[in-house]
């Protein structure tokens, strides 16, 4: 049964790779979630005869929630960092103002009526 499970897993993976080019992002996410979800369900909710040792099962069961929370923290940290390092272009703004006055002067000289 273990061998058959591994075989199915690898076939699924190569199918995924070949479909990725044609699949939408939503499709890729659904496929990925289905793959991970079924692997998790198979391992965490297995019948008593095929179960992993107790510590593994205890860690596995809340794993989806842990991953979600970890991703949430990562997102907050990343956005926070990027917000803090968002450049303020003082020189660019000043340069633009100079360009604008140079432009107005030159264009007026060339006959533009604003």
């Amino acid at each position: 049964a273990q061998g058959a499970g591994a075989g199915r897993g690898s076939v699924r993976f190569s199918l995924l790779l070949s479909f990725q080019a044609a699949m939408t992002k939503l499709g890729q996410w659904l496929c990925g979630l289905a793959l991970l979800g079924s692997a998790w369900a198979a391992l965490a909710l297995a019948p008593p005869g095929l179960q992993l040792p107790a510590p593994f099962r205890q860690a596995l069961l809340p794993l989806p929630i842990y991953l979600l929370v970890t991703f949430g923290c990562y997102s907050l940290a990343t956005v926070g960092y990027r917000l803090a390092t968002f450049n303020d272009c003082q020189e660019a703004a000043a340069e633009l103002q100079e360009h604008i006055s140079a432009a107005r002067t030159d264009l007026r000289r060339r006959g533009l009526r604003f």
């Binding site: 992002k25 990027r82 917000l83 450049n87 272009c89 633009l96 360009h99 107005r104 604003f114």
Partner: protein, 239 residues
Amino acid sequence: MAAGSADKFSVLLPTYNERENLPLVVWLLARTFQESGNNFEIIIIDDGSPDGTQEIAEQLEKIYGSDKILLRPRARKLGLGTAYIHGMKHATGNFIVIMDADLSHHVSLYFIKQKEGNFDIVSGTRYKGNGGVYGWDLKRKLISRGANFLTQVLLRPGASDLTGSFRLYRKEVLQKLMDKCVSKGYVFQMEMIVRARQLGFTIGEVPISFVDRVYGESKLGGNEIVSFLKGLLTLFATT
């Protein structure tokens, strides 16, 4: 054959009520191209602006010459995508520059040299290198970074800034992308980059400074956020 002398840059400028900004944008572009010795043309696509943008455009055509300033107006406001299609029909350059006419993208234009990296597309980014913004409060920056993060996670686009609209395309690349893209408004800009990566085109990035609108109102309200999310989810589900 010297690549530099053979290239011509066609700048597409869709305008709506840009009477104040248009002459400044044209002056900046003309000066930058003249300084770098590149052949160029600026195609102004005005959608029947009521503030006299077309009249200013006509004056600019007299000043710079009708080989450099091409006026291709339309009767009424018809949208960005069709403006580009319309403009491209008249473009004689082999590179197309797409940008807003509102002076928000501080044009340092060394990105034109960047195309020597032989990229199919060169895109301005506010989020990398010394790119950035001016005149944005914390709330606006947060929304921008948050939206960009969401975009990166969902679309994995291979470019750091999708909603900027300052880009350089090879003409045939732009042609091909416009045939494939179906979105409207600025979501269309996002779709172009996503599709470009899918089609295997190379995308180079250049940091740009996004200076808040010199004249006129800049819009980032609840409506814009909602329509951005709708557009993002649509791209997520269809590309």
